[in-house]
Amino acid sequence: MRLHEAQPQDESTHIALAADGDGTAREWLVRRWTPPVYRFSLRMLSNEQDAYDAAQDTMVKVLNNLHRYDRNRAFSTWVFGIARNTCIDEHRKRRRRGDMPSTEVVDTGPTPLQEVARHLRAERVHEALAELPPMYREVLIMYHFEHLKYAEIAEALELPMGTVMNRIFRARQKLRDLYGTNDLPA
C-alpha cells in the first residue's frame, strides 16, 4: 500500500493545520508527499536533477497554496495535478534549452548480482516509458506506479473518464509496441 493511501483522517487534520501555518503539520505533509512526487517527476522527466527540481517546486507550491485546496477532492489528485503541471513546465524549459528528451535509465540504487535480470527488465520498462509522449506516460505512471484510481486520474488531469480510458488504452498499446510482447516478463 502506498503511503498516500493510508490514514485519510490523519491527513485531513494535518492539511487543515498546515494551511493555518502549523510547522509540524507542514513538515508532516512534506515527509509524506515528497517521495511520491519525486518518483512521479523522475518517471515523467527521466532525469534525476530535473526531477529533483520539479519535486521541490511542486512541494513548495503545495505548501504555499493549501488554502486553495478543495477538500471535496482527494488530496492525492490535487498534489499529482500540481506535480504534473510542474513537470510539463520543466519539459517545456528543456525544449527551449534545446535539450533532447533524455532516455537516461533511472538509477534504482545498488543492484546485487542476483537481481541483474530483474534490473534489466526494469531498464527496459523505463526506456519504453521515456519513449512515450507525456500525455500517455503520465496516465500509466499515475495508475501503475502511484496506484491512483481511474476516477482519481480523471480528477487530477481534469479530464472526462472516457478520455482517460482512451489514453490508458492507447498508452498500453504503444508500450506493448515499444517494449515488445515477446520480452514481457512472465
Binding site: 513548495v60 538509477d107 530483474r118 526494469a122 506506479f145 481511474y150 476516477a151 482519481e152 472516457g162
Partner: protein, 159 residues
C-alpha cells in the same frame, strides 16, 4: 458496488477492445473492487512488468531542501527599487499636473492621482525587481499619454 465483470470482459478491458462507455463502467468497478483489480493484474502482462520495477531511491537531501525552500519568505523589495519607482511615479505625476494646469487640470489630475495612488500601492507590493519596474514603466507610459492628450487639447483650445 456493481456486479463483478466476468473474465472475458476483464480480458477485453485489458486488451483495450471495449467501447468507451463499457470501459468506463468496468474501470469504475475496478476502482472499488480489489478482487477484480487483482484479476486484471494477473491478466495483464504489462501490469506485471510495472509491478516488477523497483521504486527509485529518493535523494536524502530532498525533504530538507523542500522544507528550507518553503520556509524562505519572499524577498523584500530592494530600497533602490523603491527609490527608482518613487522617482518615476513622482515625475509622471508632476508632468501630468503640469499638463492638467493648462486646461481643465483639476478633473484630469484628480483622476490620474487616484490611478497613481492605487498603482503605487501595487508597485510597492511587488515581490521582484522586474515586476516592479515593469509596473512603473506602465504607469509612466499612461501618464505620458495623458500629458500628450492634455497638451493637444490645450493647444486646440488656444487656437
Amino acid at each position: 458496488m456493481t456486479p463483478h465483470p466476468d473474465t472475458a470482459l476483464l480480458q477485453a478491458f485489458v486488451d483495450g477492445t471495449l467501447g468507451e462507455h463499457t470501459a468506463v463502467h468496468v474501470a469504475l468497478h475496478l476502482d472499488d473492487c480489489p478482487l477484480c483489480a487483482n484479476q486484471v493484474l494477473q491478466l495483464d502482462p504489462l501490469s506485471q512488468a510495472f509491478a516488477s520495477v523497483d521504486d527509485p531511491v529518493v535523494p536524502a537531501a530532498l525533504v530538507g531542501d523542500v522544507l528550507a525552500a518553503a520556509a524562505t519568505p519572499l524577498a523584500p523589495v530592494p530600497w533602490i527599487e523603491l527609490v527608482v519607482g518613487t522617482v518615476l511615479l513622482a515625475a509622471a505625476a508632476a508632468s501630468t499636473m503640469a499638463a492638467g494646469g493648462l486646461v481643465g487640470w483639476w478633473s484630469r489630475a484628480r483622476t490620474l492621482i487616484e490611478v497613481l495612488t492605487s498603482v503605487t500601492a501595487d508597485v510597492l507590493a511587488q515581490p521582484s525587481v522586474s515586476v516592479s519596474l515593469a509596473t512603473s514603466a506602465v504607469v509612466l507610459g499612461a501618464a505620458t499619454l495623458m500629458l500628450v492628450r492634455a497638451t493637444g487639447t490645450s493647444a486646440q483650445e488656444a487656437v
